[in-house]
Every structure is written in C-alpha cells, then in structure tokens.
C-alpha cells in the first residue's frame, strides 16, 4: 500500500498545473470591466431615479389630496411639532398640499401596519378643517391579489375614508377615539372603518395603519397648524 501511494504521488502532482497568472489576470480584468460599467450606469441613472421617486411621491400625494397643486414636505420633530425638510430636523415626513391660491387643503401622512403578507404602507389625507381623514392610497403591500388589493379599489371600502373622524382629545396629544376597523356592515360611529368581508386581516391592518398615522402626525399638525397655513 505504502509503495503504491509513493508511486502515485509524483504522477498526480505532474497533472494540470494551475495557470495562476492567467486566472488572476482574467478575474481581475473582468472585475475591472464590471466595476467600470456598473459605476458608469449608476452615475447616469442616479438623477433619473431620484426624479422618478419624487414624481411617484408627488403623484401619490396629489391622489389623496386632489385639490392640491403644490406640495411642501415637513418632518415631525422629536418635540412633537413640524419643521421644513432640510432644516436639519429628522423624523417622519408629512406632505402639505396647497392649492393655487396658497391655501392649505390638507396633509398627506404615512402609516404602516402588518397585514396578511407583510407590512402595508399607506398614505392618508388629513383635512384640518373637518379634523378627519379624507383619502387613502396604498403605497406598498404584498397582499393577495383579488383580496388584499381591494384596499385601494373597492368603492364601498374607500367610502370609509371620505370623512373618517380623527379629532384629538382635550390634551391634544392623542386621538379622542382611536381609529378601528369593525366587521363589515357594523360601522356605527364616525371613527370606525367598515371592514371588507373576505379580506378581514388586510382591512384591519388598514385601520391600524390609519390609527398609527393619525396618532403620530395629527397632534403635531394641530400644534403647528397656524404656521403650516403660512408655508405656501
């Protein structure tokens, strides 16, 4: 046995010598070409993608605030107020919609809740005059087609967001009545959302998203409302 292995070893080492230099050259060269191409395309598409993102947000904001023609972005600060985007403050973004005369028509606020298949991100319109939510648009969701995507198309469900009560309590820190989704056909109070039968989990998530968005943003909006109206 030992003799055999000793005999085999030299023949095995003689078989294909690895072309180390060729391999290095090839992989290095290809990586270089690859890096160059990717960097070029990235540089070229970056401004276009940023512009697309802006247009997409604007489209969604004007969808929930159809009377608005100008949009200004604000952030909710740690102190529970609003500040213009770019002023150094960081936080969730709130979009203010103004009409051509510069009147504040409403604000678009974002809410997130976990639905049937992952998080649902929704944009809601808040109208400070009636202190209610007046529109909704799902920004992203993985809900089952034909069931969960009714959130954006079902005309009966969308009626919920024509005048959904979002008044604040006496202290102005939270909603007087948290927004909830109730079983289909049992809506009796203005802060309730009439669910979709067959898409219970999705419509309940929509209620939680609306509640989360309003609880977070409405106190800040109401606090700085006078200032907001001058921001056109």
């Amino acid at each position: 046995m030992t003799a055999d292995t000793q005999q085999q070893t030299p023949t095995e080492t003689r078989v294909p010598s690895t072309p180390a230099w060729a391999m290095l050259r090839t992989l290095g060269g290809i990586a270089l070409i690859s890096g160059l191409l990717v960097a070029l395309v990235y540089q070229f598409t970056l401004p276009i993608i940023a512009e697309n993102q802006r247009v997409l947000t604007e489209k969604a904001v004007f969808h929930v605030l159809p009377e608005a023609s100008v949009k200004h972005d604000f952030v909710i600060t740690d102190k529970g107020g609003l500040a213009p985007v770019g002023s150094g403050a960081e936080g969730e973004v709130v979009y203010g919609g103004y009409d051509a005369q510069g009147h504040l028509v409403g604000l678009a606020i974002t809410g997130v809740a976990v639905g049937y298949a992952g998080p649902i991100r929704v944009l809601f319109a808040y109208d400070p005059d009636c202190r209610c939510l007046t529109g909704s648009k799902v920004l992203s969701s993985n809900e089952t087609p034909g069931f969960g995507d009714k959130l954006d198309f079902d005309p009966v469900f969308l009626k919920n967001f024509e005048e959904l009560d979002a008044r604040l309590d006496a202290e102005g820190k939270a909603l007087a009545n948290p927004i909830v989704t109730v079983k289909h056909g049992t809506k009796s109070r203005p802060w309730e959302i009439d669910g979709i039968s067959g898409a219970t989990i999705s419509s309940k998530a929509m209620g939680r998203a609306a509640n989360a968005a309003a609880q977070h943003a409405v106190p800040a909006i109401e606090r700085d409302l006078a200032w907001l109206k001058q921001q056109h």
Binding site: S34, V41, P145
Partner: protein, 220 residues
C-alpha cells in the same frame, strides 16, 4: 488552447429560430422556471421580465464570446457569473430609471436574473465556444423565445385572473375573474397547459414525419 474550427456554427436562420421553437428555453428545455412562474401574473410584468432577461442574456453572452480565449477553464464559471451580475445590476438601475412602479411589481426577480440558468447555460454551452456574431444571433433568439414563453403565460393569466389585458378591461364589470390564475397555483396550471399543447404538437409532427417516411419507403 486553440479551438477546433468544426465546433463553430455557421450563421443560418436556424441559429436564431432554434431558440423560439426547437430549443425554446421554457417549453422545451424547462430552464429558468422561477421567473416564469413568479412574475407572469400580468402581461406587462411578463414583457418587462422577458426583455430584461434578453438584455442580460445577449450582453453577457457577447462578452463571454469576446473573452472566450482569454478565460482559463478553472475560473470560467466565476467569470461568467461576474459578467452576468454586472449586466443584471445595469438592468436593475435601468428599470428603476424607466419606472419605479414596474420595478416594484417585478420585486426581487430582477436581481434573481443572475441565477437564471438560461443565461449561464448559454454562456457555458454556446457563447464560450462560438464566434461573436453567431453568439449574438443565437442568444437573441433564446431571449425572444424566453420572452414569448413569458408572454404566453402572462396574457392567459391576466385575462383569466384579472379580466384584463395590458390593464384594459375585456369583460363587463360584473365579470368575476378567476383569481387563482394570478396566484402561484395559476402559474403551474397555465404552464402545464402550455407544455401539454407544445408536446402534443411536437408528437403530432413526429408522427406525421414517420408516417411519410413509411409511405415513401412503401412506394419504392
């Protein structure tokens, strides 16, 4: 390392047409099933996915063909994957620049083109042995075959599952679409139906050919 000249294919119409029918990547070779089942719920998604894959397929095959005498066989797979990944990244940015809505609809499947075996298969089985022109024509044919197959699934699934084609409604408002068709099981149903049709057609053609040979042999 010099290649034998007889392995090189001459450029004929068949170089292109093979990908459409005889060696269709989806219906005959059953390659790249993941995007075939996953993103064919609408015609638009299917078309975008098909075109994106075709772009990556053609570009990476051409680059592989150009570099074919320069890549040692020990690192060929690594080289192909880097080349494919480069073009996938380019397509990824390209689609974001064209439409973010489309990008969201296609989801992770754009990045997953890297792992599409149609492309690696072309690089290994064809582009690494053939000249640039034949590679270009052949991979274009394969890409077209892949796109057609995706469209074949996408249109059927969108019509049955959503009652629309390219977003245009085909049926009156009270039509209740067959939602299962745009869900994952629908992908399997429709793919199965198409495979049945293709195999039936092929078998019928083969049977006719053998019959004809039999007839001519008998006549002699």
């Amino acid at each position: 390392m010099a290649e034998l000249p007889d392995t090189r294919e001459k450029l004929t119409p068949d170089t292109f047409l093979r990908g459409l029918w005889e060696e269709n990547p989806v219906f005959v070779m059953l390659l790249g099933m993941c995007p075939v089942l996953a993103v064919t719920s609408t015609t638009m998604n299917a078309l975008a996915m098909g075109l994106a894959t075709t772009f990556v397929l053609v570009c990476s095959s051409m680059l592989v063909s150009l570099l074919r005498n320069w890549i040692p066989k020990q690192v060929r797979i690594a080289s192909y994957i880097v080349i494919i990944a480069t073009f996938v990244t380019i397509v990824d940015y390209g689609i974001q620049a064209i439409s973010l809505e489309l990008y969201a609809a296609l989801g992770a499947f754009i990045q997953l083109i890297v792992a599409n075996c149609v492309i690696l298969g072309r690089a290994e089985a064809y582009a690494s042995k053939q000249r640039l022109t034949t590679t270009f024509v052949n991979s274009l044919g394969m890409g077209a075959g892949f796109t057609l197959a995706l469209l074949a699934l996408g249109t059927v699934r969108e019509i049955l599952g959503n009652g629309t084609i390219l977003g245009i409604s085909l049926f009156p408002a009270d039509f209740q679409p067959w939602i299962v068709m745009i869900l994952p099981p629908g992908g399997f149903f429709v793919l199965g139906a198409w495979l049945l049709l293709f195999n039936w057609l092929r078998l019928r053609k083969e049977r006719k050919q053998t019959e004809q040979i039999g007839v001519t042999a008998h006549a002699r």
